[in-house]
Amino acid sequence: MKIAIIQFGGTNCDLDVLHVLKDVVGVDAETVWYKQEDLTGFDGVVVPGGFSYGDYLRAGAIAARTPIMDSVKKLAAEGKPILGICNGFQVLTEARVLEGALTTNEYPKFKCQWTNLRVETTDTPFTSKFRKGELIRMPIAHMEGKFYAEEKTLAELDENDQVVFRYVDENGKVTDAANPNGSLENIAGIINTSRNIFGLMPHPERASESILGSDDGLRVFESMADYITENL
């Protein structure tokens, strides 16, 4: 098994993800500079966080249109799991492989804080090691993280069990106070209808070892690795 971690100019969470995959989960992973357009031989992809292209135009907009993203789409079409974290989630929505858009936080400030999340579905290659309804903790760090989609799209996301994580309070309730960025319906992460492309604003790689304050994020990567072992 080998997982590709895509690097664009301005990506800055690539080495954290590499560390978690190789040293904590114990699977083979490699960073791939965006100019290498061939992803043959990889079984999964992580588009990590950062500020690709300085967030010019819109966060993720330029990275989404680089040729390597065509290769990512090709892998996705083969059923391989694709994970977009923070700026990576923005890249996947800008590439239109995930619904909706990430817009400026309701309070227009860079937010860097821990959040409580509720696991809304375990029927994904990225959350199989969680329990449905489980409360977990992961940090966020972004300015453009407000999930927005038209009402019709939001209804479809709910109907198709595509909402993976929601921001909640410590009791697991969806409240405005627990919503760090004004995301519609407190959405923190969604999956596509084929259920192999997952984007989320929180950083699982920053919550993958207990010394960091939480290791809840580790199960995202472990689930992904298990999925690859069992299905590909």
Binding site: A61, A101, T103, Y107, Y148, G182
Partner: protein, 83 residues
Amino acid sequence: MQYQATVRIEQKAGMLDPEGTTAKRALGHLGYQVSSVKTAKLYEIVLEAESEEVAEQKVDEMCQKLIANPIVHNYTIELRELN
């Protein structure tokens, strides 16, 4: 022919404009009471095309593919011939 396209990108109706809202509040601190402040982005694109129609078509395509995000933005294109 050479054309200059002025593309104006703004949030769709109903979308929040936190930058505009913050500017409105700051104007209030300075003693200016205004009803609303909205932000927009402006791009000036110079391109060659056989006709104004073709130029507009091309710029519209650019907006759809890159310059705007049709999920959250409306845009207008104004063209003028250069030279």
